[in-house]
């Protein structure tokens, strides 16, 4: 501030303002200097980045794994009929229509599409203390997959029926023949 006063006393302009041209020139020099430093230091790096990228970057990453832990239970009709239990059928609509446990809710598992969040919310607010899922009994079993997905999305006490619907149907046939 003192220098400004000196200049004012001498009748000179109070401010030595840098011209726009020199502002732009200095900015360009900084870019050039930075480029030189960047290239030089990159050349010294062991894991140097090539100046020109040839292969496409893998910018599409898989969705985070939401699957959680889900235990298995044996095919047992008594378990499925317990009053506090929410029973889910993870199979296709066709299979569900062909046969299902009487009180089972149909939540078809899709390997490509996650279960809709409103369905998950509905299940979470059902008031059930335990959830048991049965699927197609294949390998992988849709029941196990749905149980793990629901568990990963925050539902507690979710288990799946070992052997899925085929095991339950077999059990039904055994009961009928006795």
């Amino acid at each position: 501030m003192r220098a400004v006063s000196d200049r004012e006393q001498l009748g000179q302009p109070a401010r030595a303002v840098q011209s726009w041209r020199s502002v732009a020139r200095d900015a360009a020099l900084v870019v050039v200097g930075s480029a030189v430093v960047a290239m030089s230091l990159n050349a010294l790096r062991r894991d140097r980045l090539p100046w020109i990228q040839r292969a496409e970057y893998q910018i599409l990453v898989p969705c985070p794994e939401t699957a959680g832990q889900a235990g298995e239970v044996p095919a047992d009709r008594a378990l499925l009929e317990a009053p506090h239990m929410l029973v889910l059928d993870a199979r296709s609509t066709r299979d569900y229509r062909a046969w299902h446990v009487e009180r089972a809710l149909h939540v078809a598992f899709d390997y490509l599409e996650p279960t809709p969040s409103d369905m998950v919310r509905r299940l979470a607010s059902s008031g059930a203390k335990e959830v048991v899922v049965y699927g197609d009994g294949l390998d992988p079993d849709s029941g196990e997959q749905l149980a793990r997905e629901l568990s990963g999305k925050g539902l507690r006490n979710v288990r799946f029926v070992r052997g899925g619907a085929p095991a339950l149907i077999a059990l039904e046939h055994q009961g009928a023949t006795r």
Partner: protein, 172 residues
């Protein structure tokens, strides 16, 4: 307009703005300089630049940020640094705006290479960048004689000019 430009308080207001912007850019360049591969991936995720320019930008931009940050901090060619920062903020703002318009679920890559889950871009990111752009423009337009090295050089030059016979001492 001249009265606004001549207000003596600009240098002090701009000093605060410079310190803040310098801190932002020095922090921002840190991980980009250390991990250019990650930063290149961040740039590629925007899907704006041609592939051939991605690595060049990933290499050069962090050093420009470092230089501009340091220049703002010490007040050396502060308006040039503010010009660079304003230009970078325009580019970043446009890039984030395009990414948001495209509905890309991604991180901005501004400070550390994080996933879209930890640091997703949003309209708030855009507003933040616009705020930094305005600060940069303020320094550029109103901080005519910045406090710091520029101010010191200006004073020195003024005093040297004021002294009769200055610059001819050695010859006499």
């Amino acid at each position: 307009m001249k009265a606004v430009l001549d207000w003596s308080g600009h240098a002090f207001v701009a000093l605060g703005a410079r310190g803040y912007l310098a801190l932002v850019f020095l922090v921002a360049c840190y991980h980009k300089i250390l991990a250019p591969h990650d930063f290149a991936l961040d740039i590629a995720t925007y899907q704006i630049l041609p592939l051939g320019l991605v690595n060049l930008l990933a290499l050069i931009l962090p050093w420009v940020e470092l230089a501009a940050g340091l220049m703002l901090l010490v007040g050396f060619r502060a308006r040039s640094a503010a010009l660079l920062i304003s230009a970078m903020m325009v580019v970043f703002t446009v890039a984030i705006g395009i990414a948001l318009a495209k509905g890309l679920d991604m991180s901005c890559g501004c400070f550390a290479s994080q996933g879209a889950v930890e640091d997703p871009i949003s309209w708030r990111t855009l507003l933040r960048d616009i705020g930094w752009l305005l600060l940069g423009l303020y320094v550029l337009y109103f901080d005519r004689v910045p406090l710091g090295v520029d101010g010191w050089l200006a004073r020195r030059s003024a005093v040297a000019t004021a002294q009769p016979g200055a610059g001819t001492k050695g010859a006499s």
